[in-house]
Symmetry: C2
Subunit: 391 residues, 2 copies
């Protein structure tokens, strides 16, 4: 028997995640991977989750296993609202299936075919993937070590639906926006009427001091804010949240209902149980300390092993990533298989550009590998670069 | 500060779920609700889940809490593939965040603005909600007590992307397709090249004998099959699955990555652990027995209380719902507040029609209320109808 499948136009624009394809290659035993954006599993509070599971199933099991409100478990919405550094009502919080789903809902509600959507240069690959099915025209805004250039933004903003921006320890670069840049961005965006979609999965992972306050705190009616429990608790529960102005929330909620009815009620209750009594304030400092020491180890190794190679990199103040630029004429996509031959993997930076990719860039995660692996892996990467330079 | 939010065109077509709005009204204490599509929480295997949580976190906790493959947890994909009554490879199984997400992914991959999508009369409201954001032209196919009329289908199928069909104990009507109708539908659809999207959340909930084999088993290359753990285990874990031909799976997978990266790895491992050793074969018969007895109670109560009222209803062979038609001239939407005043709630049937709604219809769930509540609630509903007839 036959049948005729006709794909939607948007399906032809979808692509497999370059990162997930690379991860498949680099999951071979023996490869030291700086490629993934995976939090260190050492930081997962397994014991706290086990206790929370037991409590939730014993005290509230049948409700935890039943269908639930699309908005999210109310105590969790209240916790999120109370944890923000500006005045947020629990009614403005929508619990999502990871913050990736927040991007999908934002795309559905705000992007028409051909709409201009502005992003940083470079930007989070998962956002590009979430926006693409709604067929926008994605435009990169010039960016420097502090984030988007507000003059370039203003020159490209006419008719744009929003700017998507990751101000804290950005994925992929690890860079953060300064206080002055944040204020300038928010004021300029408001002046030209441009909404902001602020993504903040890494903001709590600072090393020495917390980052300046969020963009949304400065203009709550002009911003949608996305947060996540993936980096401060664990990603495998798939819980994030969206905080949106009252004008937008009903449509995000309807999109959420249509997408998956609601995020797992069991997981929401588990996380809500774990968050009781200030757990996060005791737990997150242990993640910060670990990631800071691993970042330090990677910076030391780069300093030592890349000497004389004309390789440059930044020094993040938090998060999970740092950003490397190879010598002139070198291409990170071409370097990758040579590095994998030496036993080390990374993600070529090209994947993170909406347009005009810089082929010399690459992203390194410093959180999943151990300090010992970092030393071995960076030495191997330097050797691969050295051979490629000679090549 | 100001900002200018511009909603996508599709956002104006989205609506709040009528059912979820009704559920909010009917959640008042003292209301007996036949409105929700909620499985009976009595059937949730809380103890088995508690044991599985403990095992998963103890033996495999860090992997269960980490990011994971978009395809799903491989042993769960394998279990799903092996449980189907036709030859399915685990590579054709995609684990979704509830089967509602399967509908969202199908819509993204197969529906363009203006595409014709065919549905039964009436059909599942959640499917209408999932398809609507992709802006199809949804067309109802005439249907009788056995499901879609294949001649009417053929007359409307030109250029249609697919027919969405729920062959077993359909939501909302509770009706099932006979063996002959299934075979006729599959053969006619194949002859005209029309793909089928088969949704089967209720197929395991039969009372006396299993339903005929799925449509997909008869033409796997011409069908996408959606399944769910919500009705045989518990909905609060949000786990379902899609089985798709190899031609379609890569695009569904890319849409899945963009939508929420993957479904919760912890939940997938929990369910996989619970399913070991044939648990489902011991557990599901207890659900069938409970729902059969509650369906029987509701049919008895209808027989007794609706006598002389010119109300008609069907007799389902399984599932969670039955379908009622009020006397000529009566409107279920207008009846609802009067019924709620008497302490009983239902869902007016109009919500389930893509077009040409029959205002006299309503859906009753027999699974959430107890037998005692069923007797009280049906008597109250009959009284509301009696007064409306007089009124």
């Amino acid at each position: 028997m036959s049948s005729t499948w006709t794909l939607a136009k948007r399906a032809h624009k979808m692509n497999p995640s370059v990162i997930r394809e690379i991860l498949k290659v680099t999951e071979k035993p023996g490869i030291i991977s700086f490629a993934g954006g995976l939090p260190s599993p050492k930081t997962f509070p397994v014991e706290a989750f086990a206790a929370a599971c037991e409590t939730v199933l014993r005290t509230d099991g049948r409700a935890a296993l039943q269908y639930a409100a699309s908005e999210g478990y109310r105590p969790l919405c209240e916790w999120v609202a109370a944890s923000m550094p500006w005045d947020v009502s629990a009614d403005q919080v929508l619990i999502t299936t990871g913050s990736q789903q927040g991007l999908d809902l934002v795309a559905k509600v705000l992007i028409d075919e051909g709409s201009t959507v502005l992003v940083e240069t470079p930007t989070y690959l998962g956002a590009l993937q979430a926006f693409t099915p709604m067929e926008p025209n994605i435009v990169s805004v010039d960016s420097d070590a502090e984030g988007v250039d507000v003059d370039d933004l203003a020159s490209k903003a006419k008719g744009a639906r929003f700017l998507y921006v990751l101000p804290n320890f950005q994925n992929p670069t690890g860079r953060s926006m300064s206080e002055a840049r944040r204020q300038a961005l928010v004021e300029r965006a408001a002046a030209i009427g441009l909404p902001l979609v602020e993504d903040n999965p890494y903001g709590d992972l600072w090393f020495d001091q917390p980052p300046p306050k969020p963009l949304t705190a400065r203009n709550p009616e002009g911003c949608i804010y996305l947060g996540s429990f993936s980096k401060v608790l664990a990603p495998g529960l798939r819980l994030g949240y969206v905080i949106a102005p009252k004008a937008i929330m009903p449509k995000l909620l309807q999109a959420k209902q249509a997408a998956d009815l609601h995020s797992p009620s069991f997981n929401q209750r588990m996380v809500s149980e774990v968050l009781k009594d200030g757990f996060i304030d005791r737990h997150v400092p242990t993640i910060r300390a670990l990631y800071k020491s691993q970042c330090h180890a990677m910076l030391e190794a780069l300093q030592k092993d890349m000497a004389g190679l004309d390789v440059v990199w930044n020094t993040p103040d938090g998060g999970m990533f740092l950003w490397v630029r190879l010598p002139e004429g070198m291409n990170a996509v071409e370097l990758l298989p040579k590095a994998v031959d030496k036993g080390v993997a990374f993600v070529p930076g090209a994947a993170f550009y909406a347009d005009h990719a810089d082929p010399r860039t690459l992203r390194l995660s410093f959180v999943t590998a151990s300090v010992e692996q970092i030393h071995i892996g960076i030495a191997a990467l330097a050797q691969a670069i050295r051979e490629a330079v000679k090549g």
